[in-house]
Symmetry: C2
DNA sequence: TTGGAATGTCAACAAAGCTGACGTATTGTG
DNA sequence: CACAATACGTCAGCTTTGTTGACATTCCAA
């Protein structure tokens, strides 16, 4: 019993109706649950949470990064990151070494055990992502990335691109 | 110093490399921050959190829904939902009415004030989504939705589709 | 050389998830 | 009708992960 778009609206703008946009919002919400489901299961077994996963992921992507840099990428306070980092260091998954040039800094790296957990987590997450990519096809994947990138905040996009450029 | 894909790999599978998939994972992480940033700001001003937003969103989408149905859509326990729902009812944003056919059930609806907050929140979120859609174009949007839908868990997708069908 | 900026740690608190147990009202069934 | 199952609410207690505030250490520049 709802109104469709007015007939005079150009075909090319149909994808901008409130209804289309709401569907995108709900898709984003539900998909994010799937996105985190597999790593969450693995982490729960080992007594870790999503925050540990994020730290491990970005230390792996950015070996030797400092605490300061890591928390700006993750977008949390240093106190919040510190708690997570401390348990990872105590458990021998992350190595923290005093900076050589600047002794205030701590450089973070994954240990062998940390790298192993990283692999386990990213394998699980990649498997799901790969299946979704395969089901949707290359054109859809390109669109997926385009929309996500357009959705980021400016400073967030900066971190994303800095990360992305590492292997491009 | 990384290896590219092996030369014998078909062009059409390049989008399935680990590197492409990792980029998708990071895009998803960073984009979700942007996705929630605007509503989060509005909610913080009013002393609410993301959990309140979700409840308000789905009550609006599904007027008269029961508590049981809502918590299965949201994927949380009744204790967790109840804490959020109680404050929304106390604050006069949500109305809970005893079921007519089955008096054990409570039917949830937004009050005028609740509908107003819902509009404020979804306007903010839609604005960003609309900008992203416009920047990416209709083909990209179609791909975006396809990949997200393929990423959902089976039972989650069921809720998504039930919701989606409301206006299709 | 000394005071301020930067880096990181400790303590305490809040939001929002969870489990488990229990009470109450209502419904449906043997 | 008696009783089990369902729907909802609540209490207590715990976990994760975010927050602010206070503080120690280190570096750098006036």
């Amino acid at each position: 019993m709802r109104e469709g778009p007015p007939p005079q609206m150009g075909q090319s703008l149909l994808f901008l109706t409130d209804d289309q946009i709401r569907k995108g919002i709900e898709a984003m919400f539900f998909a994010y649950r799937g996105f985190t489901a597999d790593p969450d299961r693995i982490l729960a077994e080992k007594g870790y949470g999503r925050a540990h996963h994020r730290a491990i992921h970005f230390i792996n992507r950015n070996p030797g990064t400092t605490v300061n840099n890591l928390l700006s990428v993750l977008g949390v306070t240093k106190q919040s990151l510190n708690r997570v980092l401390r348990t990872l260091i105590e458990d021998g998954l992350v190595a923290s070494t005093v900076g050589k040039r600047d002794k205030r800094e701590r450089h973070l790296n994954l240990t062998a055990a940390g790298a192993e957990l990283e692999r386990e987590l990213s394998d699980a997450q990649r498997d799901r992502m790969r299946a979704a990519y395969r089901a949707a096809g290359p054109a859809a994947v390109a669109g997926f990335r385009q929309v996500l990138e357009a959705m980021m905040d400016g400073d967030t996009r900066y971190h994303y691109e800095a990360m992305r450029d590492k292997t491009e």
